[in-house]
């Protein structure tokens, strides 16, 4: 017998409540954060509850399965409902909240976070502070999302132009539309937990109609798909300045040839990985915004033979 959404929500809420009782009884656990709200709008697609549990320093239990990863994840169950828990020591949580590192948590535009239990006043304060949005973090999130779009767009173009596989190109373009929706959600600055594509349709109705609804409805011809590609290209061009700002800002400031490895170093403590940066730079180069050159690179620390890596030059002010 299938349960209704309300029933499912009640089951999840009960499981969460019972689990939090256990958490309260354990003096080693200081706080619990629910990742992604539980509501009728969101529970329908959940198979588990996601939580962060903040533990005291010095009590972490590691298993062999944790390997080299400093983060600890556990799957638990309460009343038949699975809970996906990340255990975070208090001091690391503090650094995650305010610091900038690959392991810091960034503002999430796709899942609300709620402190559902807290036994430590300063943790409560930190969490509140973490939940504020900062422009620079948003910029970087936008940059990452835009590079997904660049990748999807490029892949669709290759398939359409080289393989002439209309079905596959269509599927890839759908993926690109989802990327646009994600970017629009991030650009709006608000958290949205529903289906991203729906929110994208609300935030950029005209454009999303073109690249998503009309794509779905129209016949899958090379001409039609080509039009969608062109539209996406235009969208990227129109928004490049805002969406790729972190990269452009750095290249403009340097006003010299910047090897990719150096660019990656600059963003080493953010969520912008070298592949994001390369995608962004390659697109900017194709659009003539920056120049692409190369720079010598030693593959090993003892190498005397040099290979070359991409290097980019931006002469815009």
């Amino acid at each position: 017998m299938t349960e209704t959404i309300s029933e499912k929500l009640a089951r999840f809420e009960k499981a969460l409540s019972l689990f939090l009782e256990r958490v309260r009884a354990d003096s080693n656990l200081l706080a619990a954060v629910l990742v992604g709200s539980l509501s009728e709008e969101t529970v329908w697609r959940r198979d588990a509850i996601s939580l962060w549990l903040i533990e005291k320093d010095g009590v972490t239990k590691r298993l062999r399965a944790d390997g080299e990863d400093p983060r600890v994840f556990r799957s638990l169950v309460e009343e038949g409902v699975n809970l996906h828990v990340e255990l975070i020591p208090r001091s690391r949580f503090k650094r995650m909240v305010e610091g900038s590192a690959r392991t810091a948590f960034c503002y999430s535009f796709f899942a609300r976070r709620k402190l559902v239990y807290c036994d430590d006043a300063s943790l409560r304060k930190w969490f509140k502070a973490a939940d504020t949005m900062a422009r620079r973090d948003q910029e970087r999130e936008l940059c990452i999302a835009t590079t997904w779009l660049i990748h999807a767009h490029r892949h669709a173009a290759h398939i359409l132009e080289n393989q002439r596989d209309l079905e596959l190109a269509f599927q890839t373009l759908l993926g690109a539309a989802h990327c646009v929706a994600a970017a629009e959600v991030i650009a709006s600055g608000e958290v949205y937990e529903g289906l991203m594509i729906h929110r994208g349709l609300e935030l950029a109705p005209a454009f999303m109609r073109e690249v998503y609804l009309e794509l779905l409805a129209a016949p899958r011809t090379a001409e039609r798909l080509g039009k969608t590609l062109a539209a996406l290209d235009g969208y990227l061009e129109k928004n490049a300045e805002a969406r790729l700002r972190p990269v452009l800002r750095y290249l403009r400031k340097e006003k010299r040839l910047v090897p990719l490895s150096e660019l990656a170093d600059h963003f080493a403590h953010s969520q912008l990985y070298p592949w994001h940066l390369e995608s962004a730079c390659e697109w900017l180069e194709r659009k003539g915004r920056i120049g692409k050159f190369s720079a010598p690179f030693g593959l090993t620390k003892m190498s005397r033979v040099e290979v070359e890596e991409p290097a980019y030059l931006c002469e815009e002010e």
């Binding site: 305010e98 430590d120 006043a121 300063s122 502070a129 504020t132 620079r136 973090d137 403590h269």
Partner: protein, 957 residues
């Protein structure tokens, strides 16, 4: 209780199963000619056995962590104490080791600063109180309940980095909110601050409301905040009245800027810890910059031919360097086939410093296979120097050392004082702590005698007397030892690598005295080396002091004063090598010196002496003219060094002799002859180099690092010997070439031991066991190789011949025997041809090098030979041979420049340059230049004063 040390049946190296009894708790001197067996007795037997027995008493577990020593070849040693050896090995080139760290004085000074130091506000230079985090917490909790307090930590600029980087570091530490000149900001936002701005930035560490039960979290915040603020914090009770604030800050930090310092800890002042070290140089005190001279080793080469060092600029046509050269040449119209030296200054500047804002079109070199995609594009050229500096900057930011990168940077960059700390090595905040208006780095620059005066003038507050007085007393005691041993010209900040062997030995000697140990056995190797005659007495007094503490002091020495000051004297000999290894005489010095068998006695009685030359060579027109020498402590010195003579440079330790001879003369000539990248010390004029064909530095370092090097390989006869074997009928029949007779190459050597002749087995907590190779029985070669003979001997047997025997064996082989004869004349006839380089003494190694030079001499060449204290390790008899050799060089038309303290060498010089009058900043002047007679007549010269007696007729001495 035993009162003697009895060594029974010593057979190490050339010792002939000797038995020696030495009195305990006395000053014992062991002397003898070079190679006689003195060091074999003192170090290889006595010291080695003492160490071995001490280590043998450790547990098997502990032994694993210590290099185990093999048992020396001796029957037994009775009456041993724990033994410490102090030899002349320099302390290596660790840039973090200084005189202060070697003597532990730096640790005591750090403790002194932690106890007595007063930090000053970084904003207004007012003294600031220090409190522990607990004390800060208690003070904060006295605020009225409900008061909201903001805790902030100052964020200091990082030299060479922009604010974006600084903020990144703050964020990495987990802090997002800051105040810039008091205005709150979020580091997540784009903050526009240029490098010219110097705002006061504080990271907001925490904000709390005073209430019970928050102690633990506030304390954690304070401790974390102190890390961000480099030991400083500020507190801001929000909404507090002016009176309340005034009261809060009364005797609690800087009342104007609301800053307080954490209690000082001695760990704050160490430059070997990231917490205390300067962030720019990581505690090394130096940073690197590109020196354009290093980029072009040979200015006669063209750019197209790789004039610029390849590591800095790869001119290959498929590399960016090649593309740039062609593009720049085309754009600016210069040629790539012109010697670099002939290029205009504008072109050189362009290559080094870039095209500034001007854009250059990229042109591919002819024949380039790569780079198509760049052709036609335009961009500015950064310049080689800028590229390297950027690379260096990136490397330092990585925060870890990479071997390959260090080697690369050494080639193209030079060290200079760190632009951030100015060589102080510590973070700037540590330099905010002062005692009597001096920071710790400033104290490190004081000469030791000035440091003692500074210490004596300290006013210690009553509440700190108990701790501080103990520390001051300890420092003073150690300084006494160092100044007493003649090292008062040193300063604690001086790098250990710049010390001579003698200086480092004397430092370690003073450290031992400072330890106050008794019942120990100390074994020293020529502690007088490098000491001027005027300081020798101080050194002898120090040895006596060590003895008087209740220790046995055994010294290997040749110095006459030390020999005469001994309680007991042992002479090993009579000759070197197989001609030595016996106890010639032992007893109180007077008895030994009166012994007819004693060679030392013969010299000290005046029966044998090193004669003064009948006449001094006159200078001809050729001379090296140096003006304005000012490297290290040299005070703008002008010197003329006559060529074609034996010239001695003399002076007190630390007076500037090595700075003049090595840093200026040797390096300048080497840069002119070999490699223009060698940078010489500061001077204005250097003329006369055209009179010098070659510059050769003959020191006492080993002739090879492995036992595979030996006198035969070094002087260059090994190849000739192998050629002889290869030419035999037997070798030809078997198809053996010269390589077959080498133990360094596969083919002819024993592969079981790879030509070593022995197999070493490493055991985890026992000494390495070395056994003769069972396959070749120690002969190093395969059986087939040994079947080939020349004049009845195989190659292994030939290498076993002594040099003396070799002279007759190779009598008709001109190329070989000439070199062997030179070695024999230099007193090395006892050495085997295959004698491992690693077991040659310093004096032996030096003479092998001299022999190699004498063997290479070509008519018409005029070389300059430089020797630094070549008498180290030499007995008076050896010194005579050395002088004969040096005079031979001069007779052959060469020049010899010697740094020396030994009066028997100085008196034989044709010309003397006396530098002084003292060491350190009290030296660096040319006191007198002239013949020994002229120097002896100079009243201002310490060398002259000591020389007078040596120049007097023998009967008057």
């Amino acid at each position: 209780m035993r009162t003697t040390l009895l060594i029974q049946g010593a057979r190490e190296n050339n010792l002939r199963n000797i038995t020696v009894e030495l009195p305990r708790d006395k000053l014992v001197v062991i002397t003898g000619v070079s190679g006689s067996g003195k060091s074999s007795l003192a170090f290889d037997t006595l010291y080695a056995e003492g160490q071995r027995r001490l280590l043998a008493s450790m547990s098997a577990y502990a032994k694993r962590f210590v290099n185990q020593l093999r048992k020396p070849d001796v029957d037994f040693v009775h009456g041993l104490s724990p033994v410490i050896s102090i030899d002349q090995k320099t302390v290596g080139s660790n840039p973090r080791s200084t005189v202060g760290t070697m003597t532990d004085l730096w640790d005591y000074l750090r403790m002194l600063y932690a106890t007595l130091g007063t930090p000053y506000c970084p904003r207004c230079e007012q003294p600031v109180a220090t409190r522990s985090p607990q004390q800060m917490l208690e003070h904060l909790m006295r605020l009225p309940r409900g008061t909201e307090v903001e805790v902030r930590a100052p964020v200091f600029e990082i030299f060479g980095e922009d604010w974006e980087h600084v903020f990144e570091q703050v964020r990495l530490q987990g802090y997002r909110r800051v105040r810039v000149d008091g205005v709150p900001k979020d580091l997540g936002d784009q903050l526009e601050l240029s490098e010219e701005d110097h705002p006061w930035v504080e990271a907001i560490i925490d904000r709390f409301v005073v209430a019970p039960g928050i102690d633990r979290q506030v304390l954690a915040s304070l401790e974390n905040g102190l890390k961000v603020g480099d030991g400083f914090l500020s507190f801001h009770p929000l909404g507090a009245s002016r009176a309340a604030l005034k009261n809060f800050w009364k005797d609690f930090g800087c009342s104007e800027h609301h800053l307080i310092s954490a209690t000082l800890h001695h760990g704050n002042f160490t430059f070997n810890d990231p917490a205390g070290a300067c962030r720019t140089c990581a505690g090394l005190g130096t940073s690197k910059r590109v020196h354009s001279t290093l980029l072009v080793p040979d200015p006669s080469r063209t750019l197209g031919d790789g004039a610029i060092v390849k590591e800095a600029f790869n001119n290959d046509k498929n590399a960016w360097g090649g593309r740039w050269l062609h593009s720049l040449a085309k754009h600016y119209g210069f040629r790539l086939d012109v010697p670099f030296a002939d290029l205009s200054e504008q072109v050189k500047d362009l290559i080094f410093h870039g095209s500034k804002a001007e854009k250059i079109e990229i042109v591919l070199p002819e024949g380039a296979r790569q780079g198509e995609q760049h052709a036609g594009k335009k961009m500015a050229f950064q310049g080689v120097v800028r590229q390297i500096e950027r690379h260096y900057h990136w490397y330092r930011k990585q925060g870890r050392s990479m071997d390959g990168m260090e080697a690369y940077l050494q080639k193209v960059m030079v060290d200079y004082d760190c632009p951030d700390c100015g060589g102080a090595r510590l973070r700037k905040t540590r330099s905010l702590v002062r005692i009597a208006d001096k920071t710790l780095p400033q104290v490190g620059e004081l000469h030791l005698r000035d440091l003692q005066k500074w210490l004596a003038g300290l006013n210690i507050a009553a509440d700190k007397t108990a701790v501080a007085a103990t520390v001051v007393r300890e420092i003073d005691g150690r300084l006494d030892l160092l100044t007493g041993i003649g090292l008062d010209y040193l300063n604690l900040g001086r790098r250990s690598g710049t010390l001579s062997g003698g200086e480092s030995q004397r430092i370690r000697l003073s450290t031992q005295i400072g330890s106050g140990l008794m019942g120990m056995l100390y074994v020293l190797d020529e502690p007088s080396i490098g000491l001027h005659a005027k300081d020798n007495v101080k050194m002898i007094r120090t040895l006596e002091r060590l003895r008087d503490l209740g220790n046995t002091v055994i010294v290997v020495e040749h110095d006459e004063e030390t020999i005469r000051a001994a309680d007991w004297l042992v002479e090993i000999g009579p000759g070197p090598g197989i001609h030595g290894g016996e106890v010639v005489a032992q007893g109180p010095p007077a008895a030994v010196l009166a012994n007819a068998r004693s060679l030392t006695g013969a010299f000290l009685r005046g029966e044998k002496l090193i004669p003064i030359p009948e006449k001094r060579r006159a200078a001809d027109q050729r001379l090296l003219r140096i003006r304005g020498a000012r490297h290290n402590n040299l005070q703008n010195v002008d010197v003329d060094i006559p060529l074609g003579m034996l010239v001695c440079v003399t002076g007190a330790s630390g007076s500037g002799k090595s700075s003049l001879v090595h840093e200026i003369i040797f390096k300048k000539l080497a840069s002119l002859r070999y490699d223009s990248r060698i940078l010489s010390g500061a001077h204005d004029v250097f003329e006369g180099h055209e009179f010098v064909d070659d510059i050769i530095n003959i020191d006492q370092s080993a002739i090879g690092r492995s036992p595979r090097s030996n006198p035969a390989t070094y002087v260059g006869i090994y190849d000739s010997i192998r050629e002889l074997f290869a030419q035999t009928d037997e070798a030809k029949a078997r198809g053996f070439g010269p390589a077959r007779f080498s133990f360094n190459v596969k083919g002819g050597r024993c592969e079981e031991c790879a030509g070593d002749g022995a197999i070493v087995t490493q055991l985890s907590f026992m000494p390495d066991v070395e056994v003769t190779c069972p396959a070749c029985k120690g002969r190093r070669y395969r059986e087939e190789t040994l079947e080939v003979t020349w004049r009845g001997r195989n190659i292994a047997e030939v290498l076993k011949l002594s040099i003396e025997e070799g002279v007759s064996f190779f009598a008709d082989q001109r190329a070989i025997v000439r070199k062997l004869e030179i070695l024999h004349e230099l007193g090395l006839g006892y050495l085997e041809l295959g004698h491992a380089a690693t077991i040659l003494s310093g004096g032996e190694a030096q003479r092998v090098k001299l022999a190699a030079e004498l063997g290479k001499m070509r008519r018409g060449r005029h070389n300059l030979y430089i020797l630094d204290e070549p008498t180290t390790g030499l007995h008076l008899a050896d010194i005579q041979r050395l002088l004969d050799c040096l005079q031979r060089l001069v007779k052959a038309g060469h020049s010899v420049l010697v740094i020396e303290h030994h009066l028997d060498v100085i008196k034989c010089a044709d010309w003397i340059l006396d530098i002084g009058p003292e060491g350190g900043h009290q030296g660096g002047q040319l006191i007198v230049a002239g013949t020994p007679e002229a120097v002896a007549a100079c009243k201002k010269s310490h060398t002259g004063r000591a020389l007078r007696a040596h120049l007097a007729p023998a009967k008057n001495r």
